[in-house]
Structures are given as structure tokens and as C-alpha cells.
Symmetry: C2
Subunit: 427 residues, 2 copies
């Protein structure tokens, strides 16, 4: 019976790979034939690992005629992309967690897959353990999804939650997160929003059924968020989160971005804390749904990889055309709206000289530039006789807002516009 | 080309049926061949409905050789069960939203389906538009799920949310809900927990891969919840929700129930308000996830029905063995734990004579009966010189708690144990 099992080749035995191996090693449907690692002699936290499975040459896996499913968990573009292409050309189905590869080279990848009648599944690449890709492709297939708002990066959500709870500054919390292993030594990929941008690119592509170009996704990180902004947001009924969002307008233009956002406490996303991820979708006919859960980690991410493996394994042998709903059939590239042309509400924190005319002046400048204000509050006067003014605007165009900021900053009574953060628009 | 479309027979053109028809009428993969209704002459809120599709004889649909997918949206056991069985015997695949039928006759239904190599899909039967059945069966297939806590009934969640927000009593909010159409004229099925019990029966069956017997599901409704309990819960950091839960212990015994519960405000479920539904799952390797969204309504529920239809349609023509992961392969019946043997925390609201010894006495009675207390607070003294005492216990066995209540109620200083509500146990 052993030989009837479907054979898997695993490329990468890091955190997620270990979770996949541990969970699936005794499965009765699939078995590991080979596992490619960088260094066979490296000690691994896996009980009774069958060392004879290990190879340092991933080519052995993608060219092994017995292997039917290749699981790529090394990340990055090289050599993952070439390995996957070779595997596809050899008729192997792919399971990957490689968000960067999908965002940058997804189109070519899926074309090669279709040419070879293979599937590429990637549930683990977006929001870790949360079921999102397969649901969008299958049970939500009848929907026209037109909006996504999501927390897709656990590291930044952890940092923002800690800043909020402890009132501690960004730098301190980042250091603590690095010590605890929640942030990497070079945190750029997370804190500057690259990771979330990769993920929203793929998520928007499948939700809108149009290709989103990752280099046109607006991206802004969390490193400029101040504890004063956290405090002001709380008082106004908001939490500050790094939100990856995607909207499709009536004309089919896509607005896809990653940036900090003031999220209403009435919204589910405001209550997603620490390393938890969440995806809120709006569409027709479904309305609004939110899926939340662990966005990373050995076992949660393994759950998604394994789900993909089992979905492929279940149909190998019953059909020559596996998983028709999970394939990529859209080739249209979305027209993207430039961030300057988007319409948003804004939170502004302005440091000004303590002059009683200053609030009126800000109001006048805004009005002159087509910006209506929802609220303007002089929060406190500091010891150095400066005032902190918090402004929430109504919906306005980004380019109008930017021009307004320039004018405000030139004013003699204004010291600095300290923070500009976009505010969530509820339906 | 028109004739190449896969033909659907729709039984029931009520709220959900209308949503399905409106959304799918111009689909390029499927088309409606016949729609069975009780009364053809009834006016319907559907633009340019093709009246020639309507029939008052559902037998025409289940016996039509051209129809490949039968969508049953009438609910109840008769005649739905017989119609579905006939359709299956005629080789038709089934999409249904019939939670009562699944809970009571699911086993026979799935057996007939397998005998005829057909699938029965029912995403819409549980939690309306929220993707939950297909995710559990597919992308979460590698998990051992051991706990579900869910809000599965929108009517009761609406009533509890309103009671909480307005401080209004149950009877008043029920009447208002009936006027607004959120509760039925006879609300029993919702407010006494029958609807949620049907849903958790099926949800636990697929999550645990063991049949749950609906008549062994403990069920308790919301009609005894008082605004005083809401207020006390809020002060203690909880919300009161009607929770459908299912747990699998280490020995594989199932504890499945529906009853009001004090849910910690730290838990996502506490923030699920009005008619929204939510399902929290815990399992290995995934950890904890929560899926939330609209639990009912024309269009959200239609989303799930349509997802099921499209999943079937996508594989008709590519394989003779459709959707292997969506089939029912488990035949073991779960051993169920009796509610008396379950371990819970409890909230008690006790009305007592205003005697300074009474708190000590309650504490002693509890200790004598193996009940440890987390807190005991005399909340206020009423004008009639009685005291309201709020107790939160530590984990204890239900039968110990019940015996304790009997003893407390016999005490000379106790007027009444006004409320006994179980309290959520966080991991």
C-alpha cells in the first residue's frame, strides 16, 4: 500500500517546512519522497527526521519522475522561480507560500502552469493559516468583490498593538519585537510594507480577476507613527493599523495600497491585535465578511500548505483536469488609480505656535483648497508655548490634501505638520 | 451555445431562491430549466421573471433528465427529503440550505448521495454567507478541529445586541424585532435555540468527522436573559451571546450545545453584533480562526448557494467523480457528553435578604459542593431590603453546580437564584 501514496517533494525545511513535515509525515494519502535543504548537516528541531530524504540539490526534486507535488517553501525569486518552472514543465503540481514570487512573477507562473495542465496553489502565501484564497476561488466564486481591507503583516500589527497598549514609541517596541523574534534583524520588508504589498497584490488579483502590478501598489510603512497619534486616534474612536486595501471602482479601475490607517473601533479590524491577521471583503451578493486568524507561524501556515497538498492529492487519480476553480483564467491587467487621485479622509496632527487665530487659519486654508473638515481640536499647549492641533477631514482628493499641507506648512504660525494618516471610510 | 449550459432546477422561490435567481440568471455556465413554487400566481419581487420556468409540481424537477443540479430552498423535512432522495436516485447533484433536514436526516442523505455518485452541498445551511463548510472540507482538511464556538442565529444575536445597547427587556426587543421582520411571528425556532442547534449539529459533524445526533445536543434559549444580567456581564468584562459550541475531548467524546454564554470582551465573538454571524474554530495545526459575516438574508445566503452550484458545474464534464473532498466519508457516530457531566464556569445572579452573613454563607455552600469562586460581589441593595449578589465560579462540573443551586435556594436568607449563565472558558 505504501507505494500507492502520492509522492511529495519539499523544497525548504525551515519553520513552515518543518510544520508541514511534522503534520503530514504519517498521512495515509501522501508521503515525502525528497526534501531539499541548504545544509544537510544543520541541526533541526524534528524528532526522528528521516535523513535519507534530505538532499542539497533541489533539481533532484523538480526532475524526479515519481514526485507529483512540489512544495516550495524557500521564498524569494531565485532559485524558487526556476525550480517551479522546471517542475511545472515536468508536469508537477505546485504548492507555494512565496508571496514575493506570486506578486512579481505570478502571471508567467500561471501561464506555464496552464500550458502544462498543472495547478499552482498558494493559500499559505497570504494571511498564513486564514482560509482566503481557496474560499475566494470556490465558494465565493459567484461574487463580484469590489473591496478588501486587510491586516496582512503580523510583525507590524504586533508593533502597533504594543505601541497602543504600552504607549511606547516605535523604536522601543521594534527593538523588543526583534528580541522576541517577532521582527527580523532587518525589519524593512515588514515595517515598510513590502510584505503586505506583495500579499495584497495577489489577493486583489484573484478577488478582482484582473492582474494587479505590484510596482503600482502604493506603499507606506509604520516607522513614522508616533505614540501621540495612537493616543489621539483612541480619543477619536479609532485604532491605527497598517491596512492593505484594494478597491475596484465602477469603471473597473483598481486602487491598491498599503499604509497606516485610522480604523474605526466599530470595525472588526480595529480589534485584530498582536500577530493576528484579518481580511475583510465586500462584494455582491455576499455583503461584508471578515476572516481572521494566525497570519504566520510554523503550524498555522503549515495548515494552509497541507490543505493545498490534500486538495491536489484528492483529485489526482480521479481526473486529468484537477481543480478547475483553482486555476488562473484571467489575463486582463487592471488599470490602476494613482494615489494622488484617490479620495480619502485624513487625520492631521499639526504643531503650531500658540496663537488664537491659528485654528481659524487652518480652517480657511483647507476651505480654500476644497478640504472640508469633520473636526479640528487644539489638544494641548506644550511648555514651549506651542499648540498641538488634531484635524480630521471629510473625504477629499489626495492631491488637494497634499497641496493644502504645503500651504499650511508655509504659514508663519505653523511649526510642522507632524503626521498625515488616512482614515478608514465605512460604507 | 445556450444549450451547452448546465441546467438547474430550483425548488423554492422565496427570499433566498429569489436572490439566487437574480444573481445567476445571466450566468454563462449554468441556466435555470425549471423553478418549483407553491403558487404560480403569487406576485414576486423579480424583474422580468420568465413565468414559463415556473411549475407547482416539484416532481417535474427531480425527474427531469436534462437537469443536473437540483437546488432545494423550501426547508423543513417534508417534502424536501423525498424530493432530494428522488433527485439523487436520478443522478442529480444537490445544493440545499436545509439545516433541519441535514441535522435530522443528514446520514441517510449522504448515504443515498454516495450510492448514486452524487454530491450534496449545503454551504448556505450554516452561517448564511460565511464561507465555512467548503473551507473546513477543503483548505482546512489537514486539521484536527477540536473546538467550535459560534454565533449561528441572527435573530437572537440581534435581540441580545439591542437589549445590551438599549438596556431594554427581552419582551420589548422581541416585539420590535418582530415588527422589523428580524424575528418571526412564532419566534420559538430562533429564540429557543432550535435553529442554532440544527446548524451546530452539522458543523460539528463535519469538523469532527463523526456524526452528531441532534437530539443529544443540549439546547437553551435566550428568553430568560434579563437586562440586569447584561449590565452585570458588561461590568465584569463580558457580553452575553447565544453561543453554539462543540468540543471534542481527548478521548473523542463530543460536547455539543446551544445556550447563552458570557463571552469575554477580549474574544472576537463579543464584538459580533446585530444579525451578523461568526464561527470560531480551534484546531491543530491551524490554531484559532474566526470567520464572520451575514448569517442570513436574500443575497448573502444566495452567495453560498451559488458558490455550491458553480463548484459542481465547474467539475461536471471534467470528471465522473466530482468534488472528492466535499463528500461525506465518515460513518462513526460520536459519543456525546451529557450536559450534567460538562465542566464550565458559571455566572449566578442571586437575590437574597440583606443580611451581612449571606455572602459568607453562599461561599461556604459552594466550597462544600466543590465549587470554587472567582468572584462574589453584592451589587446593590434594593428598596425592599434585598441584596443582589453576583457570583462567577471557577471551572466546575454542571451536576455539582446544579446541586449547589438547590442547596443555596433552600437557604433561609436566599430569595431566589435569578440567573445561571455559563461563562466562556478562554484557552
Amino acid at each position: 500500500m505504501e507505494n500507492k501514496k502520492i509522492k511529495i517533494g519539499l523544497i525548504g525545511l525551515g519553520t513552515v517546512g518543518s510544520g508541514v513535515y511534522k503534520t503530514l509525515r504519517n498521512n495515509n494519502l501522501v508521503e515525502f519522497k525528497k526534501i531539499a535543504v541548504r545544509d544537510k548537516s544543520k541541526p533541526r528541531n524534528i524528532d526522528s527526521l528521516d535523513m535519507s530524504l534530505l538532499t542539497e540539490n533541489a533539481e533532484e526534486i523538480v526532475n524526479d519522475p515519481e514526485i507529483q507535488i512540489v512544495v516550495e517553501l524557500v521564498g524569494g525569486i531565485h532559485p524558487a522561480f526556476d525550480l517551479i518552472k522546471t517542475a511545472l514543465k515536468n508536469g508537477k503540481h505546485i504548492v507555494t507560500a512565496n508571496k514575493e514570487l506570486l506578486a512579481k512573477n505570478g502571471e508567467e507562473l500561471f501561464n506555464v502552469a496552464e500550458e502544462n495542465n498543472c495547478v499552482v496553489l498558494y493559500e499559505a502565501a497570504i494571511a498564513g493559516g486564514i482560509p482566503i484564497i481557496m474560499p475566494i476561488k470556490t465558494i465565493l466564486a459567484g461574487n463580484k468583490i469590489n473591496k478588501i481591507e486587510a491586516i496582512l503583516n503580523g510583525t507590524t500589527n504586533y508593533i502597533l498593538t504594543k505601541m497602543d497598549m504600552q504607549g511606547a514609541p516605535y523604536e522601543d517596541v521594534l527593538k523588543e519585537s526583534q528580541m522576541l523574534g517577532y521582527a527580523e534583524a532587518d525589519p524593512t520588508g515588514d515595517v515598510e510594507g513590502y510584505d503586505a504589498a506583495y500579499k495584497i497584490t495577489t489577493l486583489a488579483t484573484i478577488a478582482f480577476r484582473k492582474r494587479i502590478k505590484v510596482d503600482k501598489v502604493y506603499r507606506e510603512g509604520i516607522s513614522k507613527i508616533r505614540t501621540a497619534d495612537m493616543k489621539a486616534a483612541n480619543e477619536l474612536g479609532y485604532k491605527i493599523k497598517l491596512i492593505a486595501s484594494a478597491k475596484l471602482d465602477k469603471n473597473g479601475n483598481a486602487d491598491v495600497r498599503v499604509h497606516p490607517m485610522l480604523v474605526s473601533k466599530k470595525s472588526t479590524l480595529a480589534h485584530i491585535d498582536y500577530v493576528t491577521n484579518a481580511v475583510s471583503l465586500s462584494g455582491y451578493p455576499i455583503g461584508d465578511i471578515t476572516l481572521s486568524g494566525p497570519g504566520a507561524g510554523e503550524f498555522p501556515t503549515a495548515s494552509s500548505v497541507i490543505g493545498d497538498i490534500l486538495a491536489i492529492a484528492a483529485e489526482i487519480g480521479t481526473t486529468d483536469y484537477l481543480l478547475p476553480m483553482m486555476r488562473c483564467h484571467h489575463h486582463e491587467t487592471a488599470n490602476m488609480i494613482d494615489i494622488e487621485d484617490t479620495i480619502n479622509k485624513y487625520y492631521l496632527s499639526i504643531n503650531a505656535k500658540n496663537n488664537k487665530g491659528v485654528i481659524g487659519k487652518i480652517g480657511t486654508i483647507c476651505a480654500d483648497n476644497n478640504i472640508s473638515l469633520a473636526s479640528i481640536v487644539q489638544k494641548c499647549v506644550d511648555q514651549d508655548n506651542t499648540a498641538n492641533i488634531t484635524v480630521i477631514t471629510e473625504l477629499c482628493r489626495e492631491k488637494d490634501l497634499r497641496r493644502t499641507i504645503d500651504v499650511i506648512e508655509q504659514d508663519e504660525f505653523i511649526n510642522k505638520v507632524e503626521s498625515i494618516i488616512r482614515v478608514q471610510t465605512l460604507n
